[in-house]
C-alpha cells in the first residue's frame, strides 16, 4: 500500500498534441492518500477512465510522473505496480469456473494452494457466490459476472490500490446498494486505497470519504461531500452535484452586494474587485419564494418529488430552481425569490472567488 502521487501529469491520445484541447487530461498535480476511499466523479468523456488507466499502468502518460510512495512507476508495467482494477463491463474468463476465475490473479502470482483456497472462499462469501463456485462462468448472468470481476479485483490482499471503473453500471439497483456497502466495509476492514470512478453522484457521495470531481480533463475540486455541496469551486461542480444543480445568475459584484438584472442581492461576505465573467451561484435548497421581496421569478413548473417540491422558474431568462419544503403552499401570490446571503458563492470565469472578509 502506498500514497499515489501524480506530478505534472497530462495525457493526449494524439501523439503530437498541438493545443491544450488535444489533451484528454490537462496538466495536473494530485495526491491520493494511502488508504483513502476516493470517488472520481464527472460526466462521460471528462478523462476519468484515462486517469484511472494511467494510475494502473495500462496507459503511459504523455508527460509527468506517477509515484507510488517514493517510487517512480511511470514506466512500470501494470503487473509490477500490483494494482487491482475492475472494469465497467464484466470481464470473466468464460471457460473457467467461478472458483478458477477468483483464484486466477493469485495463481499467476504463485501463491500457495492452501492460501488461495481460503482466500477464494472468503471472497466468494463476500460476493454471495459460494453456491456457484464450481459453475462455468460462461452461463452466468451479467450481474453475476460483474460480481466475479469485483471479486477478482479484491482477491489480492497486498495490492497498492483497487481501482473501480464504473463497476456497478450493469448491476440492478438493489444489488448495487448492497455491493457498494460491501465495498465500503471492505475498505474499512483492509484499508486499501480505493478509487471509484462513476458519473452517478449518489454512488460517489455514499462510497467515498473524498470526492474528486473532474471536468474537461481537469480535476476541478476534491473535497468531502459537504464541501462539494456548500462551496463548489467550479460552476460545473455546482451544476453536477445536487438535484437539481446550483442556480447560476450573471451578476456584478460590488463589495458585499451583487447586482443582478437591476436588483441588488445581499451577499454573505465582502469581495474585492472581481475580474472576468462574474456569476453568483445559489443552491435551490437556499432559495425561498416570497410575495414581493427579492428578484422577480416566472414559475414554469412545479414538480412534486414526495419529500419536497421543485419549482422550475426563470429569472430574466436564466433558469432558477427552488426547493420548497413540504407543506408550503405554492400559488400565484409568490412572484419573487430571495437567496440566503451566506450561502451564495461568487464565480469569476466559472471558478469560485474567495471572499475578502465577512460582511
Amino acid at each position: 500500500m502506498a500514497k499515489i502521487t501524480l506530478k505534472t501529469l497530462a495525457h493526449s491520445y494524439n501523439p503530437a498534441p498541438k493545443s491544450e484541447s488535444d489533451f484528454a487530461l490537462k496538466e495536473m498535480d494530485h495526491v491520493w492518500d494511502d488508504g483513502g476511499a476516493y470517488a472520481l466523479l464527472g460526466s462521460s468523456g471528462c478523462g476519468k477512465t484515462t486517469l484511472l488507466n494511467i494510475i494502473s499502468g495500462l496507459l503511459r502518460p504523455s508527460q509527468g510522473r506517477v509515484l507510488f510512495g517514493e517510487t517512480d512507476v511511470t514506466d512500470a508495467e501494470t503487473a509490477q505496480r500490483n494494482i487491482a482494477q475492475v472494469f465497467q463491463f464484466p470481464v470473466v474468463y468464460d471457460t473457467m469456473t467461478v472458483r478458477e476465475n477468483l483464484a486466477f490473479p493469485l495463481r499467476n502470482r504463485g501463491m500457495d494452494a492452501a492460501y488461495i483456497k481460503g482466500r477464494v472462499g472468503q471472497i466468494a462469501a463476500m460476493i454471495g457466490m459460494e453456491a456457484m463456485l464450481d459453475k462455468k462462468a460462461r452461463g452466468l448472468t451479467a450481474d453475476a459476472k460483474q460480481k466475479i470481476s469485483l471479486g477478482r479485483g479484491m482477491v489480492r490482499e497486498d495490492v497498492n490500490a483497487i481501482l473501480f471503473d464504473e463497476p456497478l453500471t450493469v448491476i440492478d439497483p438493489h444489488m448495487k446498494w448492497e455491493l457498494r456497502t460491501q465495498l465500503k466495509q471492505l475498505h474499512r476492514e483492509f484499508g486499501h486505497t480505493m478509487i471509484y470512478v462513476t458519473h452517478d453522484q449518489t454512488e460517489a457521495l455514499t462510497f467515498a470519504d473524498k470526492v474528486v470531481v473532474m471536468y474537461d480533463g481537469r480535476v476541478v475540486q476534491m473535497g468531502t461531500p459537504e464541501e462539494l455541496f456548500e462551496t463548489p469551486q467550479h460552476t460545473f461542480v455546482g451544476y453536477f452535484i445536487g438535484s437539481p444543480g446550483m442556480n447560476l445568475l450573471p451578476a456584478e459584484i460590488h463589495g458585499n452586494h451583487a447586482h443582478v438584472m437591476g436588483s441588488t442581492v445581499p451577499l454573505g461576505a465582502a469581495y474585492g474587485h472581481v475580474k472576468g465573467r462574474t456569476q453568483i451561484g445559489i443552491r435551490p435548497e437556499y432559495a425561498v419564494l416570497t410575495e414581493g421581496a427579492g428578484l422577480p421569478i416566472t414559475i414554469k413548473r412545479v414538480e412534486d418529488v414526495g419529500r419536497h417540491r421543485i419549482i422550475r422558474g426563470e429569472v430574466g431568462g436564466n433558469t432558477v430552481n427552488v426547493i420548497a419544503p413540504e407543506g408550503m403552499a405554492v400559488d400565484a401570490s409568490l412572484t419573487h425569490v430571495t437567496f440566503t446571503p451566506d450561502r451564495i458563492n461568487v464565480y469569476a470565469d466559472d471558478w469560485r472567488v474567495a471572499p475578502e472578509r465577512a460582511a
Partner: protein, 290 residues
Amino acid sequence: MDKTLNNKAWFLVLPVLVVVAFSAIIPLMTVVNYSVNDTFGDNQFFWNGLAWFEEMVSSDRLHAALGRQVLFSAIILAIEVPLGIYIALNMPKKGVWASLCLVLMSLPLLIPFNVVGTIWQIFGRVDIGLLGHTLAAFGIDYNYTNDPIDAWVTIIIMDVWHWTSLISLLCYAGLQSIPQAYYQAARVDQASRWSVFRYIELPKMQGVLLIAVLLRFMDSFMIYTEPFVLTGGGPGNSTTFLSIDLVKMAIGQFDLGPAAAFSIMYFLVILLVSWVFYTVMTNLDKAEGR
C-alpha cells in the same frame, strides 16, 4: 382460444421443393439409378442390386485412395489450423497495415483453383520453375513428377498457401470482437501470454474456428482441381485422391455403375464425418456451459 389449423400453407413450400428437386434430388436419383444397374452399352440397363456397392466396399483401389485422402486432410488441417491462428494473432489490429494484410491474405482465396494448380505446376518445374530450378541449383534432388514424396510435399505446400488465409481471416474476425477490457484485465491479473491465448483468445475464437475447421475438412476431403492440374494423380497413383479416382473411373473408364456407387458412399462419408464433427464440437460447448 383454439389455434386455427390450415394445412394449405404447405403449398407455399412447393416452389422450394420444386427447385430443390430439380437441382439436387433428381440428379442424385439418377446417380442412385446408375449405382443399382449395369449395362453392356446401347443404353440398355438391367438391375444389378447392391453388387456395385459390395465391389466398391472391398475394392483395394478405393481403400488406397481413401487412405491417401484421410492422410492428406489430416496433414493440411494439422498445418493450416495452428498456422492460421498464429498468423491471425500476429496481424496488425488496425490501420493501413491491417487493411494491407487483409487484402494480401485474401488474394490466394480469389484465384481460380485450376490457376492455383497451374501456378504451382510451373513454379515447381525443374527446368523453368523458380522453385524447382532454384532447388536443383542448390543440388537438392527435387522432382514432383517422379518422386511421390516430392509430389506430396508440393501439393501440401500448395494447399497451405492457398487456404491458410481462410483460417487466419476467420480467426482474425473472432479476435477483433474481443473488447480491450479483457486484455487490460489480463494485464492487471498478471496473466502470461499463454494464459491470454488459452483463456481469452481461444474461447472467443472457438465459434469461428469450428466453422473454419469444418470448411477446410470438407474442402480438402473433396479436393480435385489443384492436384489434378499439378500431378494428375501421379506419379503412379501416389496423389490420386478420392475425387480424382472417381473421375478416372466415371469418365476415363466409363464405369458408370461402380462410379455411381462410389459417389454415393463418398457423399455419405463426408456427410457423416461433418455431422459427427459438428455434433461433438457443439456438445463440447454445451457441456462447458454447464
